[in-house]
């Protein structure tokens, strides 16, 4: 029972820890507000100077280019420039929303996201729990290194490996043909494409995804486990009452971030396989924007589509964060 009385504290405690990067804890806040902006500036000068390089980097490579989004309201052509391209108000947005091809791309994107949320997202958690139960450090680090490795392969390589293994002329089919069994071509079957890209993602990135969960697991106070063992809790109860509650803030944080990325599903991975399975199942927002904008030269249309994607993603993150707060979780950030 000790575990149960202690576990509710994990949430708030983590909240303070994650939100508490600010210089003051909750009790000091009223005092902090009275300090003038100037005084605060003087006090934090060295810290501010230290963040300057990052801020400049953000400004130059993230905020200045954002101004280019103005072409979403133009009939932009790179050959005449932003200044000379005619202004068309909301035309491009109207066209994006009335384009069946775009809506189809959105649908594909959401289907892929939903599928991967169920079949990809939990896998690193499970892997981390399994790995955490391995006691011998040498075995643990070996396994860790092996499962991290595919993350460093490029998508071109991953897809080539899959093609060489599971393609119609691949290893598996050659072995099958050798035994007289008729082969299958997993790489060109649009019906199983969801499964295929999810398998590729799992193979490539599931290992990498466990890092953050392992870190969270390592922060659990061993005395909690010891106390629960004394209270007679078995392995499952310990996981249910100690391990999982400790992981909860991290899982929720990653879920919220994933939601912000809901409209982004592996551009490279999909564009590389677009010809193999056809655009019907593989066209997502990002590939659609690329073909419309860069290949077909409709830059403004593509920008409008991209901008809408960005705004919707932001709303999703804010909404999910709000939801997390309402459920008493820390979320991505907190208002002071």
């Amino acid at each position: 029972m000790t575990a149960q009385t202690q576990s509710p504290e994990v949430g708030p405690r983590a909240a303070v820890a994650s939100g508490g990067g600010r210089r003051s804890g909750g009790r000091n806040r009223p005092v902090a507000r009275k300090v003038s902006l100037r005084a605060r500036f003087a006090r934090d000068r060295s810290l501010i100077i230290m963040t300057l390089p990052a801020i400049i980097l953000m400004a130059v490579f993230a905020y200045v280019p954002m101004a280019g989004n103005v072409i979403a309201w133009q009939d932009y052509s790179p050959y005449v420039g932003i200044v000379n391209s005619p202004f068309v108000a909301w035309d491009n947005f109207v066209r994006v929303l009335s384009s069946p091809a775009f809506l189809h791309a959105v649908e594909n994107t959401l289907v892929i996201t939903a599928f991967q949320l169920v079949f990809f997202f939990p896998i690193p958690i499970i892997l981390a729990l399994l790995l955490n139960s391995v006691v011998t450090p040498s075995i643990r680090t070996t396994i860790q290194s092996i499962v991290y490795l595919p993350h460093f392969f490029s998508w071109v390589l991953v897809i080539t490996i899959f093609q060489q293994m599971f393609g119609g002329a691949g290893l598996v089919n050659q072995v099958l043909a050798g035994t007289g069994t008729s082969g299958f071509d997993w790489m060109t079957n649009p019906d199983t494409f969801l499964l295929l890209i999810t398998s590729q993602s799992v193979w490539k990135d599931a290992g990498w995804g466990i890092i953050i969960f392992l870190a969270a697991l390592s922060t659990i106070d061993p005395s909690l486990y010891e106390a629960s063992v004394v209270d007679g809790a078995n392995r499952w109860r310990r996981m249910w009452h100690i391990t999982l509650p400790a992981l909860r803030p991290v899982v929720i944080l990653l879920l919220i971030l994933r939601l912000g990325d809901a409209l982004t599903v592996g551009f490279e991975q999909l564009i590389l396989q677009r010809d193999a399975v056809g655009s019907q199942v593989s066209e997502v927002i990002d590939t659609y924007v690329y073909y419309q904008g860069v290949i077909n030269g409709d830059w403004s249309f593509a920008t409008a589509a991209g901008l809408m994607k960005g705004v919707i993603s932001l709303l999703l993150v804010l909404g999910a964060n709000k939801l997390a707060h309402m459920m008493g979780e820390a979320g991505v950030y907190q208002r002071s």
Binding site: Y79, A101, N296, G297, D298
Partner: protein, 546 residues
């Protein structure tokens, strides 16, 4: 010299179909709200028309007579090397500048440093051309990005006509030098090799009433269906197909084990069904688009049959890997390619596999009747010079182009096409050059894409090739017909840019059985509604103005 793969891959086919296209400003409902992107070329009455004053004066120049003369416009060929080569340039034409040049290549990219071929040609030019070579199969994508950023545009840009990016009418206006003042009329007389290029070819280099480009002249037949005659002989196959069904049967018969009958033969389907390149002019003077023709429908059905009977290599089904590599390694025995792909394959293979051989099928029609081959553009690959305030630089580039256009029988031509004796080739007992292994890596089509003499076949280094090529094309030339709007450089308005994309995807989907023929009619209906009918009107106006 001829370029390699033409409209072979899905990518280049896609961009070819959007030909000379245009941005994408789609919906017609909103079209009224914005200004038209194009210049005068958007006006159908002037599109494709060329004022006489713009074209250079043609002055024929013959150093040697071909052994295989042209028949009905087919490519003439040489089987021997003239005893005495003429040196056309006493001094290098260049004045020491360095120019960057972007060109496509369908093959392994040669080393840029320590390349003895580049060094020798640059020395003869008196200027340095630094190549930025990109994969030909994805050249259009690269080009679209490079042209969009004016600072990144090289001094010399080669653009295959099927890769012309959207809104090109604007690009050509702002990015590239107008060559009219340098070459129009008699101005060309100081460049005698450029003056030797026929007027029809130059006509294809005119954009918006200005001479804008330098040509790589094309052949009247651009594509062929090749088979591995060496392997056919081993297998004892002597009867070659004479109709579509026979080709399907042959492909099926050849498939087995780790060998497949064919690559994606969409282009073959188009050829044997005689599908028009773009428009068909009906008896009453109206236009029918290729998508709307019975031939197109039949071609799709044929290609779908080929895929569904399992004769296509799985990597071709997945559209990955290198189709040429599969064909040359013998994994696939039938493949379509640009006619220039023939000698390029010989160049890659003969050094290591002397018995390697491929041949084109004698043209046949799917129904066994008389085939129709649509005439290729007078120039399929053209090159542009980046606009430069320093006119001396432009003149230097044109002088280099004049050097590159030196015809067969000159030392200049020999250098550009065969490299350096003792390094890239050695003369055999019969006086014909035998390429070295270094030639297979260094001697890739590069300079020729910037400017080239009128097309002739001079690949004497591959035994028997010139004769086989020229007799095949001389025979095939009897089936060649002019397509509608032949030889006209027409820039379509921007809003039609993305029209072809869904149809190109559909071609791939139906061929591979992901969609059925029932999906074709709704797609054509959608094509008409989303701009196809307007595109038809655009061309109809051009036709009526003729």
């Amino acid at each position: 010299m001829t370029p390699t793969p033409r409209r072979l891959t899905a990518q280049s086919r896609r961009t070819f179909l959007t030909l000379i296209g245009a941005g994408v400003l789609g919906s017609t409902v909103l079209a009224g709200c914005r200004t038209e992107g194009g210049g005068a070329s958007s006006d159908p009455t002037t599109a494709g028309a060329v004022a006489d004053g713009v074209l250079p004066t043609y002055t024929a120049l013959d150093y040697v007579e071909p052994d295989f003369p042209s028949v009905n416009g087919s490519t003439a060929g040489f089987a021997t090397i003239p005893a005495e080569l003429v040196q056309a340039f006493d001094a290098p034409p260049g004045s020491g500048s360095t120019f960057t040049a972007m060109t496509p290549l369908w093959g392994a990219i040669p080393p840029s440093t320590g390349n003895q071929y580049y060094d020798a040609v640059n020395e003869a030019l008196g200027s340095t051309v630094k190549f930025q070579i990109s994969d030909g199969n994805t050249y259009g994508d690269k080009l679209a990005a490079v042209l969009a950023s004016a600072a990144d545009v090289p001094d010399w840009v080669c653009i295959p006509t099927w890769n012309i990016p959207p809104r090109f009418d604007q690009a050509v206006e702002t990015l590239f030098e107008d060559l009219t003042p340098f070459l129009a009329g008699d101005a060309i007389s100081q460049y005698k090799h450029l003056a030797n290029i026929p007027t029809d070819v130059w006509k294809f280099c005119v954009f918006d009433g200005k001479l804008k480009a330098l040509p790589f002249p094309g052949e009247i037949i651009t594509d062929a269906i090749f088979y591995r005659d060496d392997i056919f002989a081993e297998e004892g196959i002597t009867e070659l197909p004479t109709d579509g069904q026979a080709l399907l049967d042959l492909a099926k018969q050849l498939t087995g084990g780790n060998r497949w009958g064919a690559n994606d033969l969409w282009n073959t389907a188009v050829i044997i069904h005689g599908v028009v390149p773009k428009w068909q002019i009906n008896d009453d003077g109206t236009l029918t688009h290729r998508y709307e023709t019975d031939e197109y429908r039949a071609a799709l059905e044929w290609n779908a049959a080929l895929f569904s009977q399992g004769s296509v290599h799985p990597d071709a089904v997945a559209n990955t890997g290198d189709a040429k590599q599969r064909f040359e390694s013998g994994e696939v025995l039938i493949s379509n390619d640009g006619v220039g792909g023939w000698h390029e394959a010989l160049g890659r293979q003969l050094a290591t596999n002397p018995s390697y051989s491929q041949r084109p099928f004698t043209p046949f029609a799917a129904d066994g009747g008389s085939p129709v081959l649509w005439k290729g553009n007078p120039a399929n690959i053209i090159s542009f010079l980046k606009a430069n305030d320093d006119k001396a630089k432009i003149e230097e580039q044109i002088a280099i182009a004049d050097f590159l256009a030196s015809p067969y029988g000159t030392t200049e031509y020999a250098l550009i096409n065969s490299g350096v004796e003792g390094v890239h080739y050695n003369l055999g007992d019969d006086g014909l050059p035998i390429p070295t292994e270094l030639a297979a890596t260094e001697l890739q089509p590069t300079y020729i894409f910037l400017a080239d003499p009128p097309v002739v076949n001079t690949k004497v280094q591959y035994p028997g090739f010139v004769e086989a090529f020229c007799t095949w094309m001389a025979d095939a030339s009897q089936y060649v017909q002019d397509p509608a709007f032949f030889g006209m450089q027409i820039t379509e308005p921007n809003e039609f840019g993305s029209l072809a994309q869904p149809m190109t995807d559909l071609e791939s989907d139906i061929s591979r059985g992901r969609k059925s023929m029932d999906d074709l009619d709704p797609a054509i209906e959608n094509w008409r509604a989303s701009g196809g009918d307007e595109l038809r009107q655009f061309y109809q106006d051009i036709l009526d103005a003729q």
